[in-house]
């Protein structure tokens, strides 16, 4: 009887598997395989150019707000057009517009960078923030980034949508506080017989006005230009948080419930057009039409059964509160 254990069928001459210093197989992250490269240099130059042009238009708007604040007057379209000529007549006079311009551009920039870094955190390819210059009373039509790769998880969709408005709001509130602490009370400031443009007040401004200037109508409070920049920032935040289509609010709602998002994307444009029809602000016609059109753009579907975690749901509630605090049915009257 042979009790010896059979020798293992291994020969030292047998070719061994080669060991690689870099593992040939690295499990990919669940959804995004690689960190996207930074956008090309040409787009960075374009972003910087648009930022500088927007700085100019915001300086003009800021110079006008500074002059109105110094003379205890409301904003005026005609005076604004006069301020436009400063660009080539007295460019150095535009320095008075710096407090407004820098505050507004900071709010808009942190808003867009919130989106940008949320995209990078989730390995989503996006462009740099592009500012939209315009010679209007507020100097700009905001800024935007474009998302170039699909968003595949609800978490990412929420983070990308909510990061911008929440960060922008956090920066805008101290500026608004500064603006209201340095505000002036001017009786008859919003008299429609003497003023060409009356600026509305969001709920948060009503609250702060009641706190610091009790028994004074909010329409008689002339904000410091820094506060006026915060006002513009809050207005932009409220527009972005409209719960429809590809706006930030739409992203947040879609991350919570795609079904509700579809429903709101149909209803919200009609609500905005109704607001315009009832003379709250004619600009709602444009926003209603815009939301109606972009509703037909293709959404990349998200196959992610995992619902948002409690912290993000709380973030969604906070975003809703921010929207209610910032929204103005009549941002411009007159």
């Amino acid at each position: 009887m042979n009790d010896s254990v059979p020798a293992p069928n291994v020969s030292i001459d047998q070719p061994q598997l080669e060991w690689h210093p870099v593992a040939p197989y690295i499990p990919a992250p669940p959804h995004y395989p690689a960190v996207p490269a930074h956008p090309p240099l040409k787009t960075l130059l374009l972003a910087i150019l648009l930022f500088l042009v927007t700085l100019c238009t915001c300086l003009v708007a800021g110079a006008h707000f500074a002059a109105a604040y110094a003379e205890n007057e409301a904003v005026n379209f005609d005076e604004f057009l006069n301020a436009l000529t400063l660009l080539y007549k007295h460019p150095f006079a535009l320095i008075s517009g710096l407090p407004f311009a820098l505050t507004l551009l900071t709010i808009l920039l942190v808003h867009e960078l919130g989106h940008y870094f949320a995209c990078r955190h989730h390995h989503i390819h996006s462009t740099y923030p592009y500012f939209i210059p315009f010679p209007s009373l507020i100097g700009t039509f905001g800024a935007f980034i474009m998302i170039r790769s699909p968003i595949r998880t609800r978490r990412a969709l929420f983070d990308v949508g909510a990061s911008g408005p929440l960060v922008g709001f956090i920066v805008a509130v101290p500026a608004l506080l500064f603006g209201i602490l340095h505000a002036k009370v001017v009786p008859g400031l919003a008299d429609p017989n003497h003023v060409s443009a009356i600026l509305g007040a969001p709920l948060i401004l009503h609250g702060l006005a009641a706190l610091f200037y009790p028994h004074t109508p909010v329409a008689n409070i002339l904000l410091h230009p820094v506060g006026r920049a915060a006002w513009v920032g809050l207005f932009a935040t409220s527009l972005n948080l409209l719960p429809a289509a590809q706006l930030d609010g739409g992203h947040i709602l879609r991350s919570l419930s795609p079904r509700l998002h579809r429903y709101f994307s149909i209803v919200v444009p009609f609500i905005l057009i109704a607001l315009a029809y009832f003379h709250f602000w004619a600009g709602w016609y444009v926003w209603g039409a815009l939301l109606f059109i972009i509703r037909f753009f293709r959404f990349v579907p998200i196959f992610d059964p995992e619902p948002l975690n409690p912290a993000r749901r709380l973030g969604a509630v906070i975003s809703l509160a921010v929207f209610i605090l910032c929204f103005m049915p009549s941002p411009f009257l007159g």
Partner: protein, 63 residues
């Protein structure tokens, strides 16, 4: 050799954007003393959408 699709898209966006921007009578509006808020709304919408389309077109081409 046919041009890539993205190049055609970028060019179309830029051209439509330029067209919108060109149609926006900004200079007339600024010089006019009787411009209403509705005039401002239409002109600014045209100009802004034009500017956005041009920006998107340039960005698409650069990408």
């Amino acid at each position: 050799m046919p041009r890539p699709k993205y190049e055609l898209q970028a060019e179309s966006l830029r051209e439509i954007g330029s067209l919108l921007l060109g149609f926006a009578p900004l200079e007339t509006l600024i010089r006019s003393e009787k411009a209403t808020s509705f005039d401002w709304l239409i002109t600014s919408s045209l100009a802004v959408f034009g500017l956005i389309l041009i920006t998107v077109g340039i960005d698409l081409e650069a990408e």
